[in-house]
């Protein structure tokens, strides 16, 4: 931004108006930036501040909020249901940074440079265009007791044909992680492919000529250069998994009981079902802080590489 002062030869122009605008156009610049800033301030930041305040109060949405200090936060770590939701959310995070990331990387490496790579990648990308709700509907059907998965296992004589996949925790959470993996692996693969495309080809060819192949080629030559994009993918996975709502809402509503509830779901229930706005707000702020910490991981890359394209 400071360099703008250098390249101004200030030629002798007759019309003053032209010169004024040629300077930078800074006069009208705020007008162009204002709508975005205003919308974001009014509909995102203002609610954010209100939620932050409410999280330290006792508030039912009707009477005025009453200051209650950290009570809502203490409840989060003492109420067994909320602790359960915390553990489930942690399960989601761990599940989502492993399954879809590893599969995405595998799909990317296998399809990259493959003659029919684009086509072979398509089945994995298709679920990405489908909503969380539809994914929930499809997998709720697949995972019914003695449903599609059970019948397939039975057909191949494998154990587990009569398992109630969604009937008890933590198994129900794990199966829902599988469902979301089905949706998310493809887009991770696409991100890894974008990462692979940015790796120069020559060193790889040289390594290949030196006799490196398959797994060794991957481990020593590809993997180190995929570090930045891996950080982005893992960061996005953490952020996404903390917000998990749609699939759980459709498949189990957090049940049976609260056995598959996530914090995002608890927040919704506390606020809009139980009218405990303060508790819901505390959960939301907690989720935000963790999300923010995870975002820093990958935002550094996003912001620093901002002008590479």
């Amino acid at each position: 931004m400071t360099s703008s002062t250098i390249e101004r030869p200030a030629p002798v122009k007759n019309r003053a108006s032209k010169q004024r605008s040629a300077r930078t156009g800074a006069g009208s610049a705020p007008l162009f930036g204002l709508p975005a800033a205003a919308v974001v301030a009014l509909l995102l930041y203002l609610p954010f501040l209100w939620t932050t305040y409410v999280s330290f109060t006792d508030y039912d949405g009707l009477a005025s909020p009453v200051w209650s200090g950290l009570a809502n936060y203490k409840a989060m770590f003492s109420d067994p249901d909320l602790i359960g939701a915390l553990v489930n959310t942690l399960l989601w995070v761990v599940g989502m940074v492993t399954l879809p990331v590893v599969l995405g990387l595998l799909i990317a490496v296998l399809t990259y440079g493959h003659r029919w790579g684009t086509w072979l990648r398509l089945p994995f990308l298709l679920p990405y265009a489908i909503s969380g709700v539809a994914v929930g509907v499809i997998w709720g059907f697949v995972l019914q007791p003695d449903g599609a998965l059970g019948q397939a296992l039975g057909y191949f004589g494998l154990p587990g044909a009569h398992t109630g996949w969604l009937q008890a925790g933590p198994g129900n959470t794990l199966m829902m992680v599988v469902a979301v993996t089905w949706q998310a692996a493809g887009v991770n693969a696409l991100l890894f492919v974008i990462g692979l495309q940015s790796i120069p080809a020559e060193p790889l060819e040289a390594a290949r000529l030196d006799g490196a192949d398959g797994f060794r080629l991957f481990l020593h030559h590809l993997w180190p250069q995929l570090r930045p994009i891996t950080t982005v993918v893992i960061g996005l996975s953490i952020v996404g998994s903390l917000k998990t709502f749609d699939v759980v809402w459709v498949m189990t509503q957090g049940g049976p009981g609260t056995s598959s509830e996530t914090l995002a779901l608890s927040m919704y229930k506390e606020t809009f079902v139980l009218n405990d706005y303060g508790q819901g707000a505390a959960i939301a702020l907690f989720l935000s802080l963790v999300t923010f910490a995870a975002s820093i991981l990958y935002l550094r890359y996003q912001l620093s590489d901002g002008d590479s394209r």
């Binding site: 931004m1 032209k18 605008s21 040629a22 156009g25 800074a26 009208s28 610049a29 705020p30 930036g33 709508p35 975005a36 919308v39 974001v40 009014l42 509909l43 995102l44 609610p47 954010f48 939620t51 799909i107 296998l110 399809t111 440079g113 493959h114 003659r115 298709l126 679920p127 990405y128 265009a129 489908i130 909503s131 969380g132 709700v133 539809a134 509907v137 499809i138 709720g140 059907f141 019914q144 019948q151 397939a152 057909y155 696409l190 974008i194 790889l204 952020v239 709502f245 749609d246 995002a264 927040m267 809009f272 959960i283 939301a284 989720l287 996003q302 901002g306 002008d307 590479s308 394209r309």
Partner: protein, 274 residues
């Protein structure tokens, strides 16, 4: 890479994995096509009969999809268009017009995406209720636009950074005003980036559940995903083909959009990540 890397083992792994990935899609289509009467839950893998369109009709009626479809289409077109324009204007101000403290503006606008939706749900609900925006189409458009602006501004800032400064200088010499330069030079140049953002955001709006669930209730305002969950809970496991047909029906638009514009999807992702 060369031909050895398209080896049979590699292809075989991909084909097997791909088939596993397509299995749920197969199950969805086959079972959404079965007649509700005489539906056999014990043989879901075998196709039988073709009542897909009857089931579509059922789902359409039971979930009042007609109204919600109009509303959702409106949201998924209008909100992303507004967001793309507002975001592009911000990118233009920051990069091209060299807005003072532009980076701070950028961080402020982009920062809007960092926290999860849960953080703004309750105040939006209360605020919308107080201001009469709750359960209105205008309210839904406003909120979807706001959510989409930060990403749009982010991508457009990156895009405009890649355009040579001389373009702007030439336009100034030609005597264009700031608004005309934006409208007739920068926006047209950004066509592919705008399309990429539009497609990603339209998909987001179409697929949204949480905001729709929180900020609407009537059939003519409620977006399609909350409507679908309504269908599911009404029916439980009783008329599975109807529920599945509903799931298939609401997925068709985004899947078709995706297949038709795969290039833009990848581009949007690439622009968003770097």
């Amino acid at each position: 890479m060369n031909k050895t890397s398209s080896g049979p083992v590699r292809t075989a792994i991909l084909v097997v994995l791909g088939l596993i990935w397509l299995a749920p899609v197969y199950l969805l289509i086959v079972n959404a096509s079965k007649a509700v009467d005489g539906y056999d839950a014990a043989s879901v893998w075998k196709p039988s009969g073709f009542s897909l369109f009857a089931n579509f009709g059922d789902a359409w009626e039971k979930a009042a999809l007609g109204d919600t479809l109009v509303a959702t289409t409106l949201y998924s077109v209008v909100a992303p268009v507004l967001a793309v324009l507002i975001g592009a204007a911000a990118g233009y101000a920051i990069v091209v017009l060299r807005l003072r403290r532009g980076f701070l503006w950028f961080v402020f606008i982009f920062g809007g995406t960092i926290f999860p939706l849960q953080m703004i749900l309750m105040p939006l609900f209360s605020g919308f209720a107080d201001s009469g925006l709750y359960d209105t189409r205008v309210g839904m458009i406003i909120v979807y636009t706001a959510i989409s602006v930060p990403f749009s501004a982010f991508v457009m800032r990156n895009f405009f950074t890649g355009i040579a400064r001389s373009v702007f200088e030439a336009a100034i010499v030609d005597g264009g005003g700031m608004f005309r330069i934006f409208r007739s030079i920068y926006l047209p140049m950004a066509g592919s980036a705008l399309a990429a953002i539009f497609i990603l955001q339209a998909t987001f709006v179409w697929n949204d559940l949480l905001l729709g669930l929180t900020l609407s209730q009537s059939e003519s305002v409620r977006p399609i995903m909350p409507a679908l969950t309504g269908l599911q809970s009404t029916y439980g496991g009783a008329a599975l083909p109807t529920v599945l047909a509903g799931g298939l029906l609401v997925s068709l638009p985004t899947v078709v959009l995706f297949l038709a514009a795969q290039r833009f999807f990848s581009r949007g992702l690439a622009l968003g990540q770097f």
